[in-house]
Symmetry: none
DNA sequence: AAGAAAATCGTCCTAAAGTATGAGGGGAAG
DNA sequence: CTTCCCCTCATACTTTAGGACGATTTTCTT
């Protein structure tokens, strides 16, 4: 960041420079009025003062860490959770539902028929029927759709 | 904003100008009063330089505005499972599902049998069967459980 | 090793679900 | 007014689901 830029940028510094110039003129006026000495001396001092003031400012700006005022803005982000399904194992234990029965239940909820479930689990249709019947008793349901509904509210299936 | 106003407003600048003037007078006074050494001029210059450098540094530190850094902190908020169900009417229109059919679909998802649905909607069992059949065609399902699954993923039912 | 629980499979039967087809009434749009 | 869609209902039939037994085999626990 150059001095020129600084001066044009900062009104305060500009005013400062102008005031210094005015001061020098004042001195000259005083000089003319009262004591007459070497004019060059005051001008030189003034120039030195300006230069080193600028140098001081430059030094300060360059060498010091920039003042940073940290403003923390809290931005609320609403995250729609992908419905993190947490399996309710306690409920499964309470109802006495076995692992195999749960598997059948899951497939039933997927919309598969008993025959399809039997094929996927490599067992006979009768076995699936038995599991289904046991499930209905344990879930207190009389239809598979009802069983699915109950199982979902109990977080046994997503 | 005029210079005059700036000067009267900013005490720092005023003090600075005055100090410069005083310094010059002091130097002149010293020059008049005492005998100047050979290197008096260099000493003056050095003193002026040091003083005004310090002044410049002080000025810079005092007058620079702190940079405001806006830190955006993202606060994650997880939506509770009160997750409002938004009915996908577009999908219903696309599939050509009628109001009555949707009603039947909803009851089916609740686990009701066709007979129960018929009783609740005050129509005959055959009517429900017809609606169900039409639904299966429109939803490309062959079972009610499958229809329910599809309808749920399409946000036709919660 | 014995017992309990779980998983498997079967049969018989009934109930419910699903398919196919036809048909009548009513409302909305052309 | 006529056409189209929706809702309604019916009949006849097929398929699937579900209930009620019993039975054998694994698997785990004690």
């Amino acid at each position: 960041m150059g001095i020129k830029k600084l001066l044009t940028k900062n009104k305060v510094l500009l005013a400062y420079g102008i005031s210094l110039a005015l001061l020098l003129f004042l001195l000259r006026w005083l000089e003319l009025r009262f004591i007459i000495f070497d004019h060059a001396f005051e001008i030189y001092i003034g120039a030195i003062a300006i230069i080193f003031t600028a140098l001081g400012i430059w030094l300060a700006l360059k060498l010091t860490k920039p003042k940073i005022e940290r403003v923390v803005v809290e931005k609320e982000i609403y995250i729609e959770q992908a419905k993190a399904f947490v399996f309710n194992e306690a409920e499964m234990t309470r109802l006495g539902i076995s692992k195999r029965e749960l598997e059948v239940l899951q497939r039933m909820a997927e919309g598969l028929s008993n025959a399809e479930i039997a094929a996927r689990l490599f067992v006979s249709l009768n076995t699936i029927k038995t599991h289904a019947s046991n499930l209905f008793v344990k879930l207190d349901a009389s239809r598979r759709t009802q069983a699915i509904e109950k199982a979902k509210t109990l977080s046994l299936i997503p």
